[in-house]
């Protein structure tokens, strides 16, 4: 997949993850600790999304990791939020 396809797949995965975390954080049945944990996951993922949008994310190491893991793969579903 191209870098653009990878970025789109990763953003979608992140939003899915954030959506689940948000639902969990608002679950009335959840304990205080579970809600705090879900909120932490939501915020963490939001931080990642904002950093991924920047060109500064694409360092030589991260470029190399993308080339190794995703460049020659077309399996978009394999792209996770992390």
């Amino acid at each position: 997949m191209t870098r653009e396809q990878f970025k789109e797949a990763r953003s979608k995965a992140a939003y899915r993850y954030m959506s689940i975390a948000f639902t969990e954080s608002k679950d009335e049945q959840a304990t205080k600790r579970q809600k705090a944990n879900a909120t932490r996951r939501f915020n963490k993922c939001a931080d990642l999304v904002s950093v991924w949008d920047l060109e500064t994310f694409w360092t030589a190491d991260n470029e190399r990791a993308y080339n190794m893991l995703y460049k020659n793969s077309d399996d978009i579903s394999a792209v996770s939020a992390f």
Binding site: Y15, F42, V49, S50, V51, L54, W58, T59
Partner: protein
Amino acid sequence: MIISEDYSYTNPQLIRMGYATLDIHSLIFDRYFTEEEMQQNREYAERYGTNSSEWAERCDRSTTEIAKQIDEVLCLFAKYDIHQISADTSSMEHYRSNWDLYYYSNRGWNGKDMADHVTLSFNKNRTVEENMALLAEIVEMLNHSNVDAPNVKCRVQYQTHKNEEKIKAEADAICERLQGQTINHSGITGKIKRLNDCWTFWKLRAKNHYYYIDPVSLIFENIKRDEKETA
């Protein structure tokens, strides 16, 4: 040992604009090969194939050697209070104390009783200044050590420490200003709404489905829009 600094998970613009400060996340010790060693590995893989027992043996030898080098590096950290590095420092009581660093390794996860990937994270309960001072001390120590670890790379992973209050206030102000307006967000036309504690984006004509927007991207998208309008 190679020491590199990784700023890829920081947000320079946010720091520049005063919404955040530079913070340290962790030190990551991982394998490192020179170009020459990588070429040798490639040649070996091509000669024997990556499914061969020869290749598996070479990988095992390499892992053992790197794990040994990482262990030697970690000996330098003996004076620090590291959570989870041993059975003594793995209790909940210890976790609640003011430890210096948090140890994580791939021991066991890699199917072996040794670690060739180690992460030392900084204590989030301490201030940015305290952690940065500790980092400076550690980097100084690593730079002046005599440990021979040619196949270990220490990546200093930075992060941004956000001023949440300031960001939230700015995102709220933007949301209020754009209330009811149809805008372009990340190339999609729609509207921004404050929903419960979150900022959400609703595509044009969407009735039920929406995306969460983190306040930082809301701020940056707004800057981009303003720049476009000015131009």
